[in-house]
């Protein structure tokens, strides 16, 4: 086929931050095909230097307005690892409960507000209210419950204020947890409805696969978001303390963001990576949702990341209902935080909604931070997006410029990327 295609998407919409897509095809042959990130680096690692150990999680929670709980939790785990601080089972359970809430918040936001418009051929969720009012209202209800859930455990919807090194400054009451549990039980049916709505338009997901290495946390007999070691779908595992040997961050000319690779030229992190490494441990409702879409372990279609996110919404809701029972059966206790921090270096990983997230810190004898290193999931996905593009463009160029551009935009969105999340100021013109 002899065809010329020139695509330059500056700042793809409905993703977080700025990313560009550039494709040049001349006489049917691909001359250029790039995923570019032009964002300025943020230097958060420099910002934490000189700070007290108990300020770190508060500062880094502001890295992101969507994954603020994940950043807070991974920071506090790394701080506790560095300073040899032990925590109680109750603290661990309540933090896990908090972490689940963010998965639901973020996944519903991504699938409901950002991906659904693609599937319904709408420019955004706003016009969808008129076209599919019941579906949008169900999505917003689920998002609202998830927000309230975060507020109960984290003290507010974003940027948690209840966690401190060694424990909690404030824990929810038994009544709050029981009310939350009732809300979650009532959310099961709406979540299935959301899955059914997405299933009704899932045929609009492009048919694209590429053999990929998937990297996530893995733990014994658990679909984990919070505990365990690093696992590759290629078979290797690595302790969290060696995360730098997994990410192997490097720079490329086309991007201001770092790229990552482990056993191959790239790897993918995110819900599909978690599913591919842990599917046998997903909850019954999570499995039911995955089955509705035919999602099976070993899936290599990046678009199915959205479906894995829906299955995880069901999973975290079901698991949280059980976890609240476990916490309350043991009996909620107000625990005084008693710690004896010792200087050192520590590392941690959690699964942010969009993939595995690493933080490391070092503290001196005054417990001031002397060094920090963080690696976010989107940076771990950039190289994989580029390689997906390189396979996708020849396969989908027959769609022509508009069709190819839209498919490539959908691919990027399917990764739920979080390119830049630290600034949002209003930019307005006054109506004259």
């Amino acid at each position: 086929m002899s065809e010329n295609i020139n695509i330059k998407v500056k700042h793809i919409t409905r993703v977080e931050g700025h990313g560009n897509i550039v494709v040049n095809i001349k006489d049917g042959s691909v001359e250029k095909c790039q995923w570019q990130v032009p964002e300025a680096p943020r230097f958060f690692e420099a910002m934490v230097r000189g700070r007290d150990y108990d300020d770190i999680q508060t500062i880094v929670s502001r890295i992101c307005g969507i994954c603020s709980i994940s950043h807070s939790l991974v920071a506090i785990k790394a701080v506790e690892d560095a300073l040899s601080i032990k925590i109680s089972q109750q603290t661990d359970d309540l933090r896990l409960l908090m972490h689940f809430s963010e998965q639901l918040q973020s996944h519903v936001l991504h699938v409901g507000y950002l991906v659904a418009p693609d599937l319904f051929s709408a420019p955004s969720v706003v016009p969808l209210v008129a076209a599919a009012p019941d579906a949008v209202k169900t999505i917003i209800k689920a998002h609202r419950v998830a927000n309230q859930w975060s507020e109960v455990v984290a003290g507010r919807i974003t940027h948690p204020i209840t966690i401190v090194p060694g424990g909690f400054s404030q824990i929810p009451t038994e009544t709050q947890l029981r009310n939350l549990q009732n809300e979650l039980k009532a959310l099961v049916a709406p979540l299935v409805t959301i899955a059914e709505v997405v299933l009704s338009v899932a045929g609009n997901l492009p048919a694209f696969e590429r053999e990929t290495e998937y990297v996530s946390l893995a733990n014994d007999n658990e679909y984990t978001f919070y505990h365990g070691n690093i696992k590759s779908s290629d078979g290797k595992t690595m302790p969290v303390s060696d995360w730098e040997k997994v990410a192997n961050e490097y720079v490329v000319a086309q991007s201001t963001a770092k790229w990552a690779k482990w056993n191959r030229d790239s790897y993918a992190a995110g819900a599909l990576a978690r599913f591919n490494n842990n599917a046998e441990y997903i909850s019954p409702l999570g499995k039911k949702v995955a089955d509705m879409f035919g999602l099976k372990k070993g899936c290599c279609s990046p678009f199915m990341n959205n479906i894995a996110q829906i299955a995880e919404c069901a999973h975290v809701t079901e698991k949280a209902i059980e976890l609240i029972d476990k916490i309350l059966t043991r009996g909620l206790k107000t625990e005084e935080v008693k710690i004896n921090p010792r200087p050192g270096r520590g590392h941690a990983a959690v699964e942010a909604p969009r993939g595995i997230l690493f933080h490391s810190y070092e503290f001196d004898k005054n417990l001031k931070c002397t060094w920090g290193n963080m690696c976010i999931p989107t940076n771990q996905n950039h190289a994989n997006m580029q390689l997906d593009f390189e396979k996708m463009v020849p396969e989908f160029m027959h769609l022509g410029e508009d069709g190819l551009r839209q498919t490539m935009e959908m691919l990027i969105r399917s990764y739920d990327p979080c390119i830049s999340c630290s600034t949002h100021y209003l930019n307005v013109d006054f109506v004259r």
Binding site: T13, R42, V428, F430
Partner: protein
Amino acid sequence: MKKETIVLGLGNPLMADEGIGLKIVHLLMSACGENARADFVDAGTGGMSVLHYIANRKKAVIVDCALMNTEPGTIKRFTPDQVKTVKELAHLSLHETDILKVIELSKQLGECPGQVIFFGIEPQTVEQRIGLSDLLTKKLDDYVATISKELVA
């Protein structure tokens, strides 16, 4: 129990004057105390959470850093229909969430407060650092006084 009025501070304290909305809301919170007629929330950059915070209230006051083509330090009161967004990123990207689109969504859902008031503050500096510029710091009392008047109105 949720109050009829909510005052939301938006912004990021790691980006210099981008954190002005949060600073003002914390000052208002301390000045007005628990028994105030309004709920005060540091909503950070939690974009879509604004939809839930304002739902079914009578009044929402949103305080944010805003590029308005005015002198740095200027505070301006405006309503959503007095401005159009010039954000390049329309259609709800998350962290770049267009707050005016969130208000539009809230209206479509029939849960938007009857009164939505913005206070925009023109920044002097937006860069990666903790703390406001001296210019905005000196004007904090004025900002708090201006917004407090809105709350007794």
